[in-house]
Each structure stands twice: as structure tokens, then as C-alpha cells.
């Protein structure tokens, strides 16, 4: 088991290394000199050379790469060539906002999808199951920005229950913080829940066909109790996989929702940095997103053997 964790961790580190090389290389081969971009087209060659020297842009790529990675390991993403400010605080602040929204959304999605999908599977032959399937089908078809706009129209503009935009930090007022969170989180969660419901439904249907469910019923459990005692945990593995992928997708995908609700999340920062041609900030944000996605995958990998003993001493 320990070997498995270590193995996964080494894999995690290797992926991280490869990703950092790719991100750095991509940013380096982009046309245009970073210093030139930062100073504008009117800058004199001397000024550009001076800026390059200041930020070490005249160093060979390997030195710049090591500087960049070395800084990140110590929590320093460097100084933006464009704004001249530290990048780290920007990333730290915006990651928190996104993480809160996305994690809450995925928890909500799972909380909706697991009971709903299970119910849809158990009742697959009557109108209840059919209705749930139809609703989840519609949910998948609705893009989350449309869901967001509809939610704002109903709950903010018409009913006035929740603010239509903006972010309040928890220390500034916890009630406002929660109220501001509701609509973006629900907008994200609804769509994800619709997708996840379908996966849960089909995973539960598959499990219900398994021989061991028949055994459980032969032991004297009713169909429903057999599902709860033996089925759900067996259905968990495909659901964990999908939820992990969804969480990773949301980290970046939340950018649309962040824009609609004017939230200072990492997606918004990324969009701004790209618009400003702030290469080093883009590089930093992309790296942070990659690390987060890899961490999610790492956690998902660790969950498999917890759920399934067959994977614990997988040869």
C-alpha cells in the first residue's frame, strides 16, 4: 500500500516536471520579446535591453527555467513585466476564490447526483425514473452560463434574494460571503449534477445486474437493501473517476461563471493576464492550475484502493 502511494507520488512529481518544461517552452517560443511587449512598440532598444537585463531575460533559457522553477518552489512566481507587481499574491488570492466556488459546487453536485441517480436506477421502469433521466438530459444540454443568467434573472433581479454579482471576503461579512456564493455555485453545480446523475444511474444499473446482488437477495435482503448494503460502494469507482475529471475541468471552466458574476477567481486573472500579454503571470497561473489538477488526480488515485481492496495489492 505504501509502495502504491509512493509510486503515485513519484508519478505526480514526474508529471509536474514535464508540465513545467512544456509550459516554459511554450511561453518561450511565442513570438515577440517579453520586454518589448511590456514596454510597447515605441520603446528604444536601450530601454528594452535594460528591462531584459533587469528581469534576466538575456540569460540562456536553462538559467531562466531554473530561476522560474526555483522561485515557484519557494512560493515566488516572480514580478510581472507588465505591471511590475509581485505575481504570487494575485495567484494566492484568486485561487482561494475559485477553490471555494468549485469545491462547493462539486460537493453540491455529488450530493444531488448520487441520490437522484440511484433513485432513477431503482425506478427505471416507471415515470419517476424516466422523469429524472429526462431532466438530467436537459441539464446536460444547458450551458452553465445560460443557467447562471437564468438564475440571476429569477433569484436576483425578480426575487432579490441573492446579489447578482461581486465577491465579499468571509472576514468582511460572512452572511454576504454566503449570499454571494449561492448563485455561482448553484449555476456550476446544476450542470455538473445533471451529468453526474447519468453516470450514477448507469453505474447503479450495472451493479444491480451483478451476480453478488442476486446473492445478497438470495441471502434475504430486499432489492433496495441489497443495493444499499452491497451495490453503492461497488458503483462508487466509476462515479469517483467522473467526479474527479469534473472537478479538474471546473477549475478552468469556472472562468465563464467568474466573468458573469464578476468574481476575482483564477480564471478571471488568467483572462486579464492574457489580455495584457502578461506572459510571466500567464505562465504562473497555468502552472498553478496544472498542479491543482495533478493533485486532484493524485487524490482520486489514492481513493481507488480505499474503495476497492482488489487494487490494494495490485501486482
Amino acid at each position: 500500500m505504501l509502495a502504491y502511494i509512493l509510486g503515485r507520488f513519484v508519478q505526480f512529481l514526474l508529471s509536474l516536471f514535464v508540465a513545467s518544461v512544456i509550459v516554459f517552452a511554450l511561453m518561450s517560443v511565442l513570438p515577440g520579446n517579453a520586454a518589448q511587449v511590456a514596454l510597447g512598440t515605441n520603446a528604444t532598444p536601450e530601454a528594452v535591453a535594460a528591462l531584459e537585463a533587469r528581469y534576466g531575460l538575456d540569460e540562456p533559457p536553462i538559467v531562466r527555467y531554473l530561476d522560474w522553477v526555483g522561485g515557484m518552489v519557494q512560493g515566488d512566481f516572480g514580478t510581472s513585466y507588465v505591471t511590475g507587481t509581485q505575481i504570487t499574491p494575485v495567484i494566492v488570492d484568486s485561487v482561494q476564490v475559485t477553490a471555494i466556488i468549485v469545491v462547493t459546487a462539486i460537493v453540491l453536485a455529488v450530493a444531488i447526483a448520487v441520490p437522484l441517480g440511484t433513485f432513477a436506477a431503482l425506478e427505471q421502469r416507471n415515470w419517476v425514473g424516466a422523469t429524472i433521466s429526462a431532466l438530467s438530459q436537459i441539464g446536460i444540454a444547458i450551458p452553465n452560463f445560460l443557467a447562471a443568467i437564468l438564475l440571476v434573472m429569477v433569484f436576483s433581479l425578480t426575487l432579490g434574494w441573492f446579489p447578482s454579482q461581486g465577491w465579499t471576503a468571509p472576514i468582511e461579512g460572512f452572511g454576504d460571503f454566503l449570499a454571494g456564493l449561492v448563485l455561482p455555485v448553484v449555476a456550476l453545480a446544476l450542470v455538473q449534477a445533471a451529468i453526474l446523475t447519468r453516470y450514477v444511474r448507469s453505474a447503479v444499473l450495472d451493479v444491480m445486474r451483478e451476480d453478488f446482488i442476486r446473492t445478497a437477495r438470495a441471502k434475504g435482503l430486499t432489492r433496495t437493501r441489497a443495493l444499499f448494503a452491497h451495490g453503492l460502494r461497488n458503483a462508487a469507482i466509476p462515479v469517483i473517476t467522473v467526479a474527479g475529471v469534473q472537478l479538474a475541468t471546473l477549475l478552468v471552466g469556472a472562468v465563464v461563471i467568474e466573468q458573469i458574476f464578476v468574481l476575482p477567481g483564477i480564471g478571471s486573472e488568467l483572462v486579464r493576464a492574457v489580455a495584457n500579454r502578461d506572459l510571466l503571470t500567464v505562465q504562473g497561473i497555468v502552472m498553478v492550475l496544472i498542479v491543482l489538477v495533478l493533485i486532484i488526480n493524485f487524490i482520486v488515485d489514492l481513493l481507488y484502493p480505499v474503495v476497492d481492496p482488489r487494487l490494494r495489492n495490485a501486482a
Binding site: 509502495a3 502504491y4 509512493l6 509510486g7 513519484v10 508519478q11 421502469r125 451483478e210 451476480d211 453478488f212 442476486r214 446473492t215 445478497a216 437477495r217 438470495a218 441471502k219 434475504g220 435482503l221 430486499t222 432489492r223 437493501r225 448494503a229 452491497h230 460502494r233 461497488n234 474503495v307 476497492d308 481492496p309 482488489r310 501486482a315
Partner: protein
């Protein structure tokens, strides 16, 4: 009339979407403690009948009629799920066929046994762990203390089936239903399991309804048999009556085709069609064993409807221009030579994992002469499938040499392997999994020819000929695999293997997934084709009866080693090794079982 344990009356089961019943008016009764064998092939409705008694029929089927059980109030078919749940495993229990999937893979074995005790509340909570241990001991589980904490995947198939039996009998039900509980097990394990079922059923005083297609198993275990065919009961009576004096034509056919020691005057196994001449188990005079391995009668004028066309195909094939090609497998003798082959599997892959090498094969020496029929016998895990893979160039040996014709397989180039595969073809075990479900039959059979680069018109002609040779209507060649039965699919596999006119046919348990009546047909077909196409046959099986019928020589494998080799008759008559003796003794034999039952 004496007390009845089970009374099934007019049971008719119909699929929800179509009218034709799959079980049609089945009526049967069982007395308490009686042991009844329910015999039939797949699709005969025997398992559905059993599931109805448990109230476990799949939802898409609807049942009419009545099922009453001593101790259960009312008709099982109409009872609510809650009442049925209370009845199951209290009055009736069931052991299922597939030990690999019948237990929850995520739950410790002890917990799964404890659950059934807890559910029915007969055992005080504090005593459950001790009772679980007792149950494991009662089914002769090795290391019962450790086994409680094991997960199903850590147990062998036989051990899992023991756990299933412990669960089924935990609450001392009055009726135990076993649905082919030993079909997926090795013969020696099967023997132990059958003895165990017999012992435990006696110990708890339960009645036994034993479902199987294997007549020999029933003969040794049951008092009475019921034969089902096409959803109806065709015959019922005591074991001795039914097996020695079958009244119904189907029963006679089933008996005849399951007897691998009886052959008609042409040395062929009896099938449902030819069963009329069958004289009963052990009743036929054994034909001269050698005659079965003799070349086909000259002229081929005997009555062999299936292969008349096959032989014509061969004659044409042999006179075809291809015969003029330089033959890459020409003459070094023996045709196949395996020398000192070992195979070591390294488990593990990633960095820190400990590697435990598994010795799958250990210094195997083997040679097969042209035209020889070699049987490889062994239980699961004996390495026989690994050996086949190496022979076919699908896997490489860790050490040793394999020569097929003049190709050195372990170091063969891609071109050599291609040649090898033209001349050595494989038929696999599972007729359901080994055909691509999205390809038409014609395309499946034609694939080896495409690989060989043969033009479209010739391809189609040869596919058609081949389908005829395996007794399939060429009109069916536009269909997909799911539209065929298991036996038909295995014939398609054989057609695919033989269409490129190989010299060597390797068969990996090709009949172990088939019903006995179909098995006889496929074995006859295989035997005819081997003769007609002058094939060299390497036939892997766990079933000694099959090998004995089909092969002239046999190799017995155990734990990756060859423990015994020789002519089939020699090895059977005078097995030298203890292991071979135990294999032969464990193989169910109808005549012996009947003699024992009398």
C-alpha cells in the same frame, strides 16, 4: 401422499415483450430431504425454474402458475419482496454457478457470512463471530481463522464456492438449490465440492435441487432426476430408471452425447440425431480404441453427412495450385518441437513495488509429429494456456526454444510470425468473447485470408466453402455473432481457423463452454476436419474425457511442469503419477456413478 417440501404447479414464464413462454407448464414436487437433479441444456429453462422458486426471477420476465413451499404461506410467485426476503435463505437457499462474481468483491468473506446470520436473527449478536468460524470449518475451509478476513479475490474458485455454500446453509434451510455449482471448477475441486454439498445437505437435513447439464454429476448425487428441454419437463424418474431406460428421445440423445466413451460404428460420438443406436452408459462394447485414431476410411463412402462437403473442399484444396508453392513448414521432423521452455512472469511495474516472479512454465520439453493429435491436460493455473501462447508466437519464453516447422518461434521476425500464423491457427475457449460482435460472420471468417492478401472473389468462395464444411448455411454469412448459439459460434471460430488452410490447429478448451449435445457435434466436426485436412492437432483441455476421445497422445501438466506424457490409452490405463491418477479418479463417469448409486 407424504409431506411435500416443494410443489411447483403449471409454472409458465413469459418474457414481458413477447408471447412465447421460456418455461411452459412445469410441474414438480419434492419431498423433504429429497435430492432431485434438474437436467437440461442452456435455454431449457432449468435456471429460470430455480429462480422462480427463490422468487428471484428477473423483472423483465413474468411468471404464472404456483410455487408453494412447506413453511411459506401462499404462492411464492405472488408474494411481496419483503416476505420473499424473509423466506430466502431461511427456507430456501441457493448456490450459483459463477464463484468469481457471486460474492461482493469489496467485503470481507467473514462479514458476508455474518450478514446472513444477522439478517434472519437466529443467532445472538455476540455469538456471530464464533458461528462464522464454525461455518467456515464446516465447509472444510483451509485456515478458517484467516479466511474470515480475506476478500473474495484472495480465494480460489473452489474456496469461494465453499464460502457460498457456508452462506447458503448458515440458517439451515429446508431446501438448497444448486445451479451448476461446479461447472466453473477444476475436476479435482469439483469432486471435493460435490462430496461437500452431499455431506452438508445431510448434516442440516435439507432437500437438494441440483441443476446441471452434467449427467454423471447427477447420477452420483441425486435420487431422482427431472429432464427439461425447451421449457418443458420431458422426463422424470429415479436416476437408475432415467439413465438406464430413458423413455424420451431427448433424454436418450443427451445420455448418448454425454458419453465420450461410446461411439457409433464410424468411431464418432453420438449426437441427438444419431442417439437411436446408443446402447446406454457402459453398455456399448468399447470399440477398438485404436480405430478412433486411424485414418478415415478410404473412399469416404460411409454415411457422414456433415463432412461430405468438407472432404470435397479438402480434395479441391489439396489439388489447388497452392500445393506447388514451396512449403515453409516442409518436413523437418517432428513438426513442433519445444525444448527447455520456461516462462517467468514478473509482477509489478512501478518504481517501489516489490517484484515477485511467477514461474508459469518450467523446462517444458515436447514434440509433436506431423499428423499427431496431442492433448494437453491440466487444471487452471497449470500453465497450459501460457504454453499455447508461446507456441503460437503470442508470447515469448523466458528461456528455451520453440520450433514450428523450420520457424524458430521465440526469435521469429515479423514476416516469419506471419507465416507461422498462416500455418498454425487457434480456436479459443469462449465462443461468446472471441468473435468481434460488430463484424459479420463472413468478414470474421475472411479475416485470415485478408491478412494473407487473397483477392476478394476467391476469398468469398473460400469462406462459403468453409462455412459449408462446418455445417453452417452460407445464407447466414451476413449475420452477426449474437444471432448464433454457442455451438454455432464455436463452429464459426473453427471455420475462421481453418479457412487459411493451416497445417496445425491449436484448440484451447474449445468445447468447455458448450452443452453436452453440442459438444459431441463440435468434437465430431473437429475430428473429421483434422482427418480431412490432414491437420496436426494440439488440444488443450481440463476435461480428460474429451482428450481421451480426440487425442492419440497426452501430456499432463501441473504447476507449469509436465508430470506425465505418453499415448492416451497408455496414460489412462496405467497412470504413473499420483496427480494423473487423482485427475482420472475425479472425472465424473456416468457408468461408474450409476454402478455406485445402485
Amino acid at each position: 401422499m407424504a409431506e411435500t417440501l416443494l410443489d411447483v404447479a403449471g409454472l409458465t414464464i413469459t418474457p414481458a415483450d413477447s408471447g412465447a413462454p421460456v418455461v411452459d407448464g412445469v410441474s414438480l414436487t419434492m419431498a423433504p430431504g429429497e435430492r432431485v437433479g434438474l437436467i437440461g441444456e442452456s435455454g431449457s429453462g432449468k435456471s429460470l425454474t430455480a429462480l422462480s422458486i427463490m422468487g428471484l426471477l428477473p423483472e423483465e420476465l413474468s411468471a404464472a402458475g404456483s410455487v408453494t413451499l412447506a413453511g411459506f404461506d401462499g404462492n411464492v410467485l405472488e408474494a411481496s419482496e419483503r416476505r420473499l426476503a424473509r423466506m430466502r435463505s431461511d427456507l430456501v437457499s441457493m448456490v450459483f454457478q459463477e464463484p468469481m462474481s457471486a460474492l461482493n468483491p469489496l467485503m470481507r468473506v467473514g462479514d458476508q457470512i455474518a450478514e446472513v446470520l444477522r439478517l434472519h436473527g437466529g443467532v445472538p449478536r455476540a455469538e456471530i463471530p464464533a458461528r462464522v468460524r464454525d461455518l467456515l470449518v464446516s465447509v472444510h475451509m483451509p485456515d478458517p481463522d484467516g479466511a474470515r478476513f480475506a476478500y473474495p479475490h484472495q480465494l480460489s474458485g473452489g474456496q469461494r464456492q465453499r464460502v457460498m455454500l457456508a452462506i447458503a446453509l448458515a440458517n439451515s434451510p429446508r431446501l438448497l438449490i444448486c445451479d451448476e455449482p461446479t461447472t466453473a471448477l477444476d475436476v479435482t475441486v469439483q469432486k471435493h465440492m460435490l462430496d461437500l454439498i452431499s455431506e452438508r445437505v445431510d448434516a442440516v437435513g435439507a432437500g437438494l435441487l441440483f441443476i446441471t447439464h452434467d449427467l454423471a454429476v447427477v447420477a452420483g448425487l441425486c435420487d431422482r432426476v427431472i429432464v427439461m428441454h425447451g421449457g418443458r419437463i420431458v422426463e422424470t424418474g429415479s436416476v437408475a430408471e432415467v439413465f438406464t431406460d430413458p423413455q424420451h428421445a431427448y433424454t436418450r440423445g443427451l445420455l448418448a452425447s454425454s458419453d465420450l466413451e461410446a461411439t457409433d460404428e464410424n468411431g464418432r460420438l453420438f449426437t441427438l440425431r444419431t442417439a437411436g443406436e446408443y446402447a446406454g452408459p457402459g453398455g456399448t462394447e468399447r470399440s477398438d480404441p485404436l480405430s478412433r485414431f486411424a485414418p478415415p476410411p478410404p473412399g469416404g463412402a460411409t454415411d457422414r453427412p456433415v463432412t461430405a462437403s468438407a472432404r470435397a473442399v479438402v480434395r479441391r484444396a489439396q489439388s489447388a495450385p497452392e500445393g506447388g508453392d514451396p512449403d515453409p513448414l516442409s518436413d523437418p521432423d517432428p513438426l513442433i518441437e519445444v525444448a527447455g521452455v520456461s516462462k517467468l512472469y514478473r509482477s509489478g511495474g512501478l518504481l517501489f513495488r516489490r517484484r515477485r516472479p511467477v514461474q508459469a512454465l518450467e523446462s517444458i520439453d515436447l514434440s509433436v509429429a506431423r499428423g499427431q493429435r496431442l492433448g494437453i491436460v491440466g487444471e487452471s493455473g497449470s500453465g497450459k494456456s501460457t504454453l499455447l501462447s508461446i507456441l503460437a508466437g503470442l508470447d515469448t519464453p523466458t528461456t528455451g526454444h520453440v520450433r514450428v516447422g523450420d520457424i524458430t518461434v521465440e526469435s521469429a521476425s515479423a514476416a516469419d510470425l506471419k507465416t507461422l500464423r498462416e500455418h498454425l491457427q487457434i480456436v479459443f475457449q469462449d465462443p461468446f468473447a472471441s468473435l468481434d460482435p460488430r463484424m459479420r460472420i463472413a468478414d470474421i471468417v475472411a479475416e485470415p485470408l485478408i491478412a494473407k492478401g487473397i483477392g476478394r472473389e476467391e476469398r468469398e468462395a473460400r469462406v462459403e466453402e468453409m462455412l459449408r464444411a462446418v455445417d453452417l448455411e452460407p445464407a447466414t454469412m451476413r449475420r452477426y455473432p449474437h444471432q448464433f448459439s454457442g455451438g454455432q459460434r464455436q463452429r464459426i471460430s473453427i471455420a475462421r481457423a481453418l479457412v487459411s488452410r493451416p497445417q496445425i490447429l491449436v484448440a484451447d478448451e474449445p468445447v468447455s463452454a458448450l452443452d453436452v449435445s453440442v459438444r459431441a457435434q463440435v468434437l465430431n466436426l473437429l475430428s473429421d476436419l483434422v482427418d480431412d485436412y490432414a491437420l496436426t492437432l494440439v488440444f488443450v483441455s481440463h476435461d480428460l474425457g474429451v482428450v481421451r476421445h480426440l487425442c492419440s497422445d497426452v501430456v499432463v501438466m501441473k504447476d507449469g511442469r509436465i508430470v506425465e506424457a505418453g499415448t492416451t490409452e497408455g496414460v489412462y490405463a496405467h497412470p504413473r503419477e499420483e496427480y494423473t491418477r487423482s485427475l482420472i479418479a475425479a472425472t465424473p463417469n456416468l457408468a461408474e456413478a450409476l454402478a455406485g448409486a445402485r
